[in-house]
């Protein structure tokens, strides 16, 4: 399962990121690292970005990247 498959309001733990080193670096910077917990806040229409909550920060990520982030859903 990836970030892109999450439903709004669900929480998940990041498992792995399948993307080039540049993208990995960018994701690492904003706290999207294996082990981190995220919550999906909203999805923008027309395949627009996803807005996530990581810690207390709001982060917007494009769908392309979201699809490369493997996650494990957490019980609410």
């Amino acid at each position: 399962m990836t970030l892109r498959d999450m439903k709004v309001g669900q929480k998940a733990k990041i498992i792995k990121i399948d993307k080039g080193s540049y993208a990995q670096r960018r994701l690492f910077e904003i706290g999207l690292v294996p082990g981190a917990e995220v919550k999906l806040l909203s999805r923008h229409p027309f395949r627009g970005p996803l807005v996530l909550q990581i810690g207390n920060a709001k982060i917007a990520v494009g769908r392309g990247i979201a699809a490369s982030v493997k996650i494990e859903l957490l019980e609410n």
Partner: protein, 588 residues
């Protein structure tokens, strides 16, 4: 003594510095405001402290301009202390950089900023626990209330920073544990600056340490009542309603801009008219009669009208609106809302920030392109800025030319939009790059008016130092050229320009004048007898032509001479192509 301020984007480095020195650096509520290291002198107990304010970075190991700038500073300056500014509401992520900084071996003081906001959110941080883990002084700080300021000044006063560090082995002169990451190659003045950028074990290790530390030192209590700002933020971040609202705000902004110009024009002209008459009179009295006197007595008063009645209110209004957008944290929300639109031009949503800044003035906008994630995207945005985006001054003059000649406004607007689309499309195809859309949305806040004011002042100061003198000078030159009859030389080109672009030769001269200052070119048009069709083509060619001189200077600084030449070639081809196409399709 040299101190460096280092921290994640948008944690309030500049506002900490503002608190400390009362200076007026740009402090904005969106990532990527300070793209350069700024040095501020500060005096504590008769000792000069140089404080280096750096662009926000997430990690020393990341590629990119900001990181390069920070590493460059660490290498070339003899930094004795790092003030690591972290966001109290987001320790988990902020501490990753803290752990990287601790490995450098330079003494670090951790300033936990925005502690006031954290408390409202129910976050409690224990500075003693934090110190015990980081082995470095930890100060809870609020740039808003001034909490922690005394403590911070005391640290700076003490001078002996290495003594502040708890554990031997963390001090400056002691070797750092290099085995952890094994990739410290470059040596600065006694420190080792990381060079490699791909993610490795050490990064993940630090991320884990940061996560554990954050958990250990913070207690999450029930959040205080939701402030109304947060409610508004939730509405604005709604994927549909938010986008509609944001676009509506943008529309209101443009409306406000047009209305304010319209309303101020009358009163300003009333004041300006007698002043102008006096100036004209004085010039012809003082100077001996002749060509110089007759040119100046006409050109100077004339040259004051447009800058004061149109450009001045436009620049003021745009500076104000942009500053409010930046300060409230609305700007990055536009990036997210417009991500889809941006992807069409092959650029990320954050391109919206420099592009919309460009509507104010393109010179700072070029600087702001540093927030683009890749060089390819950066070049695309600089090109679009240089060729297509009209700055406030250009818009003002264009408006006056359009109304003078009754040119076809819809044609001009549509052509510019079409050019933006086509140019963006072509550029994104020939310069493919991995587009990574990752963006932080800072919390919405009310504009701090002192901030907004200082930004408006800086943005607007260009009016008197650059715009007004240059406009006046160019107006005099153009007047002189016309009075002397020199422009008649270009009549020989009449057949050529009429055939290609459908405009008289003098109007073509105006297109060439854009080399000096784009917003001056339309002035030439004002003095020519043009039909609406001719005016439409000429204005569009000017609007889609070369960047002005300050923008060119900036472009060279940012992407080098080669980059500028590429932009200029594209600009000329675009302008000429647009002229030819319009000449073919517009009915006589």
């Amino acid at each position: 003594m040299a101190v460096a301020l280092i921290g994640n984007p948008n944690v309030g480095k500049s506002s900490v510095l503002n608190r400390l020195c009362g200076s007026s650096i740009f402090v904005s509520n969106y990532p990527g405001t300070s793209v350069e290291v700024t040095k501020t002198k500060f005096n504590v107990v008769n000792r000069d402290v140089d404080i280096y304010d750096t662009p926000g970075i997430y990690s020393l190991h990341s590629p990119g301009e900001e990181q390069r700038v920070v590493k460059e500073m660490l290498k070339s300056e003899d930094i004795e202390l790092i003030l690591n500014i972290v966001d109290a509401t987001n320790l988990e992520r902020n501490l990753v950089l803290t752990y990287e900084l601790l490995e450098l071996g330079i003494p670090v003081v951790v300033v936990v900023n925005q502690i006031d906001r954290a408390r409202v959110m129910g976050i409690k941080i224990d500075p003693r626990k934090m110190r015990s883990l980081l082995h470095s002084p930890v100060i809870l700080f609020s740039a808003v209330s001034g909490e922690g300021l005394v403590q911070l000044i005391r640290v700076l006063e003490s001078g002996d920073f290495a003594a502040q560090i708890d554990k031997p082995g963390m001090g400056k002169k002691v070797a750092v544990d290099l085995s952890l990451s094994g990739r410290y190659g470059e040596r600065g003045k006694g420190y080792v600056i990381p060079t490699e950028t791909s993610i490795n074990e050490a990064d993940l290790e630090r991320a884990k340490k940061a996560r554990d530390t954050a958990k250990f030192v913070t207690t999450q209590m029930k959040a205080g009542q939701k402030i109304w700002l947060e409610r508004i933020q939730n509405i604005l971040d709604h994927p549909v309603i938010g986008v509609v609202l944001l676009l509506f705000f943008a529309y209101l902004g443009f409306l406000l801009l047009l209305k304010s110009i319209e309303l101020s024009e009358g009163p300003i002209s009333t004041v300006l008219e007698p002043v102008n008459r006096l100036i004209g009179h004085l010039i012809s009295e003082i100077l001996p009669s002749g060509i110089v006197s007759s040119v100046l007595s006409k050109a100077v008063p004339e040259g004051l009208i447009i800058p004061f009645t149109i450009i001045m209110p436009a620049m003021l209004m745009v500076s104000l609106l942009m500053s409010i957008l930046e300060d409230t944290g609305l700007l990055p929300r536009y990036s997210v809302a417009l991500e889809r639109a941006g992807s069409f031009f092959g650029v990320s949503g954050q391109a919206v920030i420099p592009l919309s800044l460009g509507f104010g003035c393109r010179t700072p906008a070029i600087l702001a392109t540093r927030i683009m994630p890749s060089e390819a995207e950066r070049f695309i945005v600089i090109t679009l800025l240089s060729i297509v985006i009209p700055c406030a001054a250009t818009l003002g003059i264009m408006a006056s030319v359009v109304s003078t000649f009754e040119a076809y406004l819809p044609v001009i607007v549509l052509t510019m939009l079409a050019t933006l689309t086509i140019l963006g499309f072509i550029l994104s195809r020939i310069m493919p790059g991995e587009s990574v859309f990752v963006y932080e949305l800072p919390p919405l806040r009310l504009p701090m008016w002192s901030n907004v004011w200082s930004k408006v002042k800086v943005r607007f100061s260009g009016f008197f130092t650059e715009v007004l003198p240059l406009l006046l000078l160019m107006n005099i030159i153009i007047r002189a050229l016309m009075e002397s009859g020199l422009l008649n030389i270009f009549h020989d080109m009449e057949n050529f320009t009429r055939f290609l672009f459908g405009i008289p030769a003098e109007a073509f001269v105006a297109v060439l004048i854009t080399i000096f200052q784009r917003y001056l070119a339309p002035l030439v048009l004002l003095n020519l007898p043009l039909t609406p069709r001719e005016a439409t083509i000429a204005i569009t060619m000017i609007a889609l032509s070369l960047p002005c001189l300050p923008v060119m200077v900036m472009t060279v600084r940012e992407i080098g001479l080669k980059g500028l030449i590429k932009v200029l070639i594209m600009a000329f081809s675009t302008s000429f192509a647009v002229g030819i196409i319009l000449n073919c399709i517009l009915p006589f």
